[in-house]
Structures are given as structure tokens and as C-alpha cells.
């Protein structure tokens, strides 16, 4: 059982007929994810990768009981796809799409708050519960079922660090890429809360980067709640210049705030071991949790 998705998840793919949507539908199914429906307006009645396609999310939910959605819908239509999924009663939406205007995301988050749904992303690689299911685009080969919860603002850097977790003999309970945008649905603190209550997670690896203050907020939460699990961290962008957007829309040091050093200090002050090199994460786990 993962913290967000598991064998019980009934997945709907929004934008299933697109290039990325159909490609990843194939890969997700190959991994064992239970995909029950796809949605592309105007393409209802089609079958893609053995998955029935519907015109609307409401239809798909009614006919298939889908309860989780992953969206590959292009940026200009992406927010309306999220609104539609939330309105149809989907509890968890994973938005892979990059490039959504921030103002649109502000409206989405307001709506989600009213409806009580959860959003992961946008601009994220998704979620994997190794050995059970994957919702998104993460490469499955580096993951192994285990007891380390992983939460990250990045994509490939997550795979890099996970490879050290796996190599060190630990696997992952659930790994989540929360996305590189300024306005996102789920933040470090939300994931720390979920991992805390998960019986199968015994340590958390938090992968941060420059920009915003999520790492600082997480540090404060860890300190104030006397967080029961050991937390290890890596923060990317120690050498990033100021006022430059480092690939991700949210990765920018503006007005001197959002630097890696501030984040590392806050995390260390909260008792988190912060790695200087990605490979340190594997060493930390061995030292603190014992050889596996």
C-alpha cells in the first residue's frame, strides 16, 4: 500500500490519445497500474492500449469507477482538464503538464480546496509505489519496493538519488515528484504528513532545490512536530546564479531569497542530514538505519 496510489487505484488518463498520453499509458500498464479509462473530448468510443476512451470525465467515472487521474493535456487546456476531473469527483489528480500559467493554477487550487481533492504537480513526473503501480512518467528500473519515502521537486535528479537509495539496499515505499512550478498542489509538508502515518515508511528523503521556501517550511514542520521519522535531504542549486530561472519555473533565487544555503541551514537546524553529493544519501541511510 502506497501513501497516494496502490493496487486499488483505478486510473483515468486525461489526454490519452496524444503522443505522450498513449505512450505512457502503455508503460504504466506494463508496470501493473490498473488503468480503467481514458478521456479525450471527441474521441469517445475509441480504444487505446486496450483502454476505453470517453468524451468526458463524468462519463468515464460513471462507467468505470475511476478514482485517480493523470493528465497529459497540453498547457493551454490543462487547467480545464483538472477542473473537470475534480468536478467529476476524482480524489487525486496528477498533472504532468509543463508550462501552465500561474494565474490559472491559483484558480485551480482555490477550487480544489473547496472540493477536497488532491493535486500532485503540475510539471511533475508523478508517483510510483514500487511493485504496485505508477502514475506518471518515472522510469521504473531504478525503483525497488522498500521503506524509504521519497519526495522531490525534480524529475531526473529524483532518479539519480533513488538509484543510490536502491543501491544501498533500501527500496522506496512511495516516491513522488511534486513538480517544479511556483504554484503546486502538494508540497513537502503534505507529503511528510502522509509518510508519517504510513506503516511502511521508516525514513524520508526530501529532494529540494532553489526558489520559494518549501524546504524552510518543511524544516519548521519537522522541528515543531518532533517528526517521528528520520529525514534526509539534498538541495540542488548551491552554485546557481541569482535571478536566473534554472529550467523549472519555480527554481529561481529572487531578491536574494530562495538560496540553497538558506534551505540547507533551515533543514540542518531541524536535525535533517543534508547531503553534499547525491551519493551521500545512500551512505546516510546505511549509517543511520543500519546495513540492509
Amino acid at each position: 500500500m502506497g501513501v497516494l496510489v496502490s493496487n486499488d487505484s483505478r486510473l483515468l488518463v486525461q489526454g490519452i490519445t496524444g503522443r505522450d498520453g498513449s505512450f505512457h499509458t502503455h508503460l504504466m500498464r506494463e508496470y501493473g497500474t490498473n488503468i480503467v479509462a481514458g478521456v479525450t473530448p471527441g474521441k469517445g468510443g475509441m480504444v487505446i492500449e486496450d483502454v476505453p476512451v470517453f468524451n468526458t470525465v463524468v462519463d468515464a467515472v460513471e462507467k468505470t469507477g475511476a478514482n485517480v487521474s493523470v493528465s497529459f493535456v497540453p498547457a493551454r487546456f490543462a487547467t480545464s482538464a483538472i477542473f473537470e476531473a475534480v468536478d467529476a469527483g476524482i480524489e487525486l489528480i496528477v498533472a504532468i503538464t509543463e508550462g501552465i500559467p500561474v494565474k490559472d493554477m491559483i484558480s485551480v487550487m482555490r477550487f480544489i480546496k473547496d472540493k477536497g481533492a488532491r493535486l500532485i504537480g503540475p510539471n511533475c513526473p508523478g508517483i510510483i509505489t514500487p511493485g504496485e503501480c505508477k502514475v506518471g512518467i518515472l522510469p521504473t528500473t531504478v525503483f525497488k519496493k522498500g521503506r524509504v519515502g521519497v519526495v522531490s521537486r525534480s524529475g531526473t535528479l529524483t532518479y539519480e538519488i533513488v538509484s543510490y537509495i536502491t543501491e544501498a539496499g533500501f527500496g522506496e515505499s512511495t516516491a513522488v515528484g511534486i513538480g517544479g512550478d511556483p504554484v503546486i498542489g502538494t508540497r513537502f509538508v503534505d507529503m511528510l504528513e502522509l509518510f508519517k502515518d504510513d506503516d511502511e515508511t521508516e525514513a524520508v528523503v526530501l529532494i529540494g532545490e532553489i526558489g520559494g521556501s518549501d524546504e524552510e517550511v518543511a524544516a519548521r514542520y519537522i522541528e515543531e512536530t518532533d517528526y517521528p521519522l528520520p529525514v534526509f535531504s539534498f538541495v540542488a542549486g548551491r552554485t546557481a546564479p541569482k535571478d536566473k530561472r534554472m529550467g523549472h519555473a519555480g527554481a529561481i533565487i529572487s531578491g536574494g531569497s530562495g538560496t540553497a544555503s538558506e534551505k540547507i541551514k533551515a533543514l540542518e537546524d531541524a536535525g535533517v542530514l543534508v547531503a553534499k553529493l547525491p551519493s551521500d544519501i545512500g551512505k546516510f541511510l546505511k549509517e543511520e538505519l543500519g546495513e540492509k
Binding site: 494565474k103 482555490r110 518549501d214 552554485t239 536566473k244 527554481a251
Partner: protein, 381 residues
């Protein structure tokens, strides 16, 4: 996207916010004719995308036609923090009674817009936030309802007790919020917002930062784009699907993914080397992208070694290898090449490269890669 003060003022003016009369000039003649139209004294301000213009001597008050000529001449062409001033704003000088601060910003921690106001206008608001945070008043807007009249009034009463002034400030706050929304800004700021000696409120300085993701909705803003040479290269790279930022060092990096690309720079520095750039080729595996990436990387003549740090997921290692092979063939690259390929189709990628005649230094992981790249960039074998 950053825009200039004069451009932000044009946007504010359209929204009904009072700005001092004035115009932008790129030469002394235009500065003089503008000052004649609006009347002396005028303020001449350098239009560059950097803070601290005043301290650098880029803002001057001219009281006579001679001074207009003198100051315009001095400021045009001036270097401010590495940027050459090509445009100046010539605006009517306002007799200042009081300076306030008004701003709207997207607050990442709440996912909502926040209005900030302060009586400490005309100074760096981040300094105020550090030294006297109690002097900044904030209000988080519920985006479902927007900034309601009483919200704006509550904030305005923190800045003045004169109800006429309060109404004027509140009205400006609502216009500012609307501008923030309508222009898809991540920041809209008036600092200072000035009460003049003749009791009018003016936006003396204006700052708007636009959300790059929303620019497709505002084709009219495209002409406001004013880039330095460095930014032009970054912009050109972005149009080809690459995130490229030039740095001072000598190790050219080609990486897939922003987080990994930042970490690549960090690891190089950690081991004592100097990255020449940040370069994220993104999640696709189009060989053309690899060629484009090398094109940008080689524009930098300081590069002494090239390091491909690829962790394949969506990106397929064999596509990266083919792209690299094609590019080296076409571009006659003679620099040492360090290649780390891990993940999707790793074996195939390595096979493609080792069967070629290229002299490639294969490394198994990131740390080995950094060390090899550093050694080679320093002329080692």
C-alpha cells in the same frame, strides 16, 4: 519576463493609475524635446533590468535644459551592473510629500496573491521586511472573490488616516490587483507611490514581472521584450526547447532535467572545477536537440571539456548517443568528451558511441564524471 519601468507605467496608466507625464528616449534630442513638452524639472531615469539604478548614478533630476542635455548624455551608454543603458525615461519631477509602497505578489506558500503595503516607500522593500517587518501590512486575496473594497480600505487605513487619501489609495490597490491579474504578472509593484505636494497620488516607479508561461495570451507584450546579449542567447535556446544559462567556467555540461543539471554544476564545483553553463535538454530524446545543445555550448570559447550527464527516463540514451555522434561529425568538435549514460537504453547508447571512432571518456556515475571532466578541462589525459 521582465519589462522596463516605462513599459510598466504604460500598463498602469491604461489601468487608470496616475503616473507622471513623460516619455522614453534613446537619444539626447528626444530627451530635450520631451522635457520641453512636459516642462522642467524632469527626472531622467536609466531603463535597465536591474535594481539599484539610483545608487549607480542612473537617476538624475534636471532643472534646466542644459542639465537635461548633460544628464541624458551621461546616463545613455552608462554601465549599470554590467548592463549598458540604451533607453532613458524622461518624466515630470513630482514634489514629494510622502512615499508609500504598494505591491501584489504571488505567494507560493499559500498559492494565492498577496497584497503588501507599507508606509516605508521609496526604499528596498526586502530591506524593510528584514529590518522592520511590522511596517509591512499583508493581505492574502481569496482568488474566488478578488480584492473587495473593504479589503483595500482596511489596507489603505494602515497608510493614512485621511479618508480622502484612504479612498484614493484603496482605489489604486484595486487597479493594481486588476493589473496583476489582467497582465498575468507574478509581481506588480509601485514603489514609491507618492503623495505630491499638491495632494495627488502618483506611481513614481513601476515594476511588473510577467509569467513566462502566460505570454501566449499576451502577444502584444512580445514587443516589450528587451534582452541583453546574454539573455538573447538564453531566449534563443528556449525557443529550441533547451534551458541554457551561461556561466564563467570551462566545463560544458549537457544534462537532461533541470534538477540534475543544477546538481551537475554543484558537483563540478564541489570537486574544485568550474561549470561553463547550465544546460537542460529536457525530457525528449530528439537527436536534433543534442546538436542544438552543442551549438550553444560551443558558442562559449572558454569551454575546454564537454560532459554529457544523462540519466535516461523519458530520454533514451541511444537517442542522445546518435545525436552526439551526428553533431560531432558535423561540427568538428575537438574538445575532450566525457559521457555518463544511465537508464533507458543505456547499453545501446554506449554501444553506438564505442563503435564510433570518437575518443570518449566513459564514466559510470556523476562523481566520476565530474572528476574526469575537471581533469580533462585542465589539460590532463
Amino acid at each position: 519576463m521582465k519589462i522596463h519601468e516605462y513599459q510598466a507605467k504604460q500598463i498602469f496608466k491604461k489601468a487608470g493609475i496616475l503616473v507622471p507625464e513623460g516619455d522614453v528616449a534613446t537619444n539626447i534630442e528626444k530627451a530635450i524635446s520631451t522635457s520641453e513638452e512636459i516642462g522642467l524639472p524632469v527626472v531622467i531615469k536609466a531603463q535597465v533590468h536591474v535594481g539599484g539604478r539610483g545608487k549607480a548614478g542612473g537617476v538624475k533630476i534636471a532643472k534646466t535644459p542644459e542639465e537635461v542635455k548633460k544628464f541624458a548624455g551621461e546616463i545613455l551608454g552608462m554601465d549599470i551592473k554590467g548592463l549598458t543603458v540604451k533607453k532613458i525615461l524622461v518624466g515630470k519631477a513630482i514634489d514629494i510629500q510622502r512615499e508609500l509602497y504598494l505591491g501584489v505578489i504571488t505567494d507560493r506558500s499559500t498559492n494565492r496573491p498577496v497584497i503588501m503595503v507599507s508606509t516605508e516607500g521609496g526604499v528596498d522593500i526586502e530591506e524593510v521586511a528584514k529590518k522592520t517587518p511590522e511596517k509591512i501590512h499583508r493581505f492574502t486575496v481569496d482568488p474566488a472573490y478578488g480584492l473587495l473594497v473593504h479589503h483595500a480600505m482596511n489596507l489603505a487605513f494602515k497608510l493614512s488616516s485621511d479618508v480622502k487619501e484612504v479612498r484614493e489609495i484603496a482605489s489604486t490597490l484595486q487597479k493594481l490587483y486588476k493589473t496583476y491579474l489582467d497582465s498575468d504578472a507574478s509581481l506588480a509593484e509601485i514603489n514609491p507611490y507618492v503623495l505630491s505636494a499638491d495632494s495627488n497620488f502618483y506611481a513614481i516607479d513601476a515594476k511588473i514581472v510577467l509569467d513566462d508561461n502566460a505570454l501566449f495570451r499576451h502577444p502584444d507584450y512580445e514587443e516589450m521584450r528587451d534582452l541583453t546579449l546574454e539573455e538573447k542567447i538564453e531566449h534563443e535556446a528556449k525557443e529550441k526547447g533547451l534551458s541554457y544559462i551561461s556561466m564563467e567556467g570551462n566545463i560544458g555540461c549537457v544534462v537532461n532535467g533541470a534538477g540534475l543539471a543544477m546538481t551537475t554544476m554543484d558537483v563540478i564545483k564541489h570537486f574544485g572545477g568550474k561549470p561553463a553553463n547550465f544546460l537542460d535538454v529536457g525530457g525528449s530524446s530528439d537527436p536534433q536537440k543534442v546538436k542544438n545543445a552543442l551549438h550553444f555550448l560551443l558558442m562559449d570559447e572558454g569551454v575546454r571539456a564537454i560532459w554529457f550527464n544523462i540519466f535516461g527516463g523519458i530520454t533514451r540514451c541511444d537517442d542522445i548517443a546518435s545525436g552526439l555522434l551526428e553533431a560531432v561529425g558535423e561540427m568538428e568538435i575537438e574538445l575532450p568528451l566525457v559521457v555518463r549514460l544511465t537508464g533507458t537504453n543505456e547499453e545501446e547508447g554506449k554501444r553506438i558511441l564505442s563503435e564510433s571512432s570518437l575518443d570518449i571518456h566513459f564514466v559510470r556515475n556523476m562523481e566520476e564524471g565530474a572528476k574526469a571532466a575537471i581533469r580533462l578541462s585542465e589539460g590532463g589525459g
